[in-house]
């Protein structure tokens, strides 16, 4: 079962699809997750993105709602 996390493929959305997805859903119904470093987030991020740098992601998953669609970059 633990292998699931490495094997489950995530769908990709390109820029246009992402923009449309965000526009079509209320702000509270989608998580936009930025997994870059804080300095990169500070320089520029998609409005509304939550920052959890990749190295911290495993420990901080509890901060996210697994029921919501999650768009990651």
């Amino acid at each position: 079962m633990k292998w699931m996390q490495f094997l489950t493929p995530a769908k990709s959305l390109d820029y246009k699809e992402t923009e449309a997805y965000i526009a079509e859903h209320p702000s509270d119904s989608v998580t936009l997750l930025d997994v870059r470093q804080p300095s990169e987030y500070q320089e520029s991020h998609i409005p509304g993105a939550v920052l959890i740098p990749l190295p911290e992601l495993t420990d901080r998953l509890g901060e996210l709602d697994p029921e919501k669609p999650t768009l990651v970059y």
């Binding site: 995530a10 959305l13 965000i22 409005p47 999650t70």
Partner: protein, 191 residues
Amino acid sequence: MLAGKGFKQVFNVSGGIKAWKSKTAIGSQDLGMDLFNGKEAPLDILKTAYSLEQGLRDFYLTLEKTAGNQKVKDLFLKLSDIEVKHQRSIFTAYHRISGLEISQDEFESRVETSALEGGLTTREYLDLFKPDLDSEKQVISLAMSIEAQALDMYQRVSARIPNPESKAIVLKIADEEKAHLASLGKLMDSL
């Protein structure tokens, strides 16, 4: 990683931020958070949001006076009118929730304006974006940047507010900013 941890729907944004062509937000996760302590009751949220709209309206009206081009002047007036509509909607919500018999002018006199939407000051926005105030496109671009920053701030604020009613108000305002951003995009495309 997420899909294997029980997340129902996970999407990769292909190309990441480099492929993102719409407006982005800047700053740390804490930018603008000093405007909200997270413990606000719904009425406090509305007061702060109203003051931010007021700050932006004043900003557009100040720039309107300095612009030389009549089309740009008209555009600034149009942008300030949109903020007036936002303020009206916020005041209506305040009136409904508080049940107070209070005029909008009286309400306005009770709120303090310290920053613009998005948590940056007038000077910070101008220094950051350095718009050509004679170009309609650059003025709309500036307005879109401010809306993107506001949308970002309200969404970050919503995550820190435990009161469900206050949270719902912040999210509603965030969605209004999102719609405003989209309409400015259409305006830009029409030029």
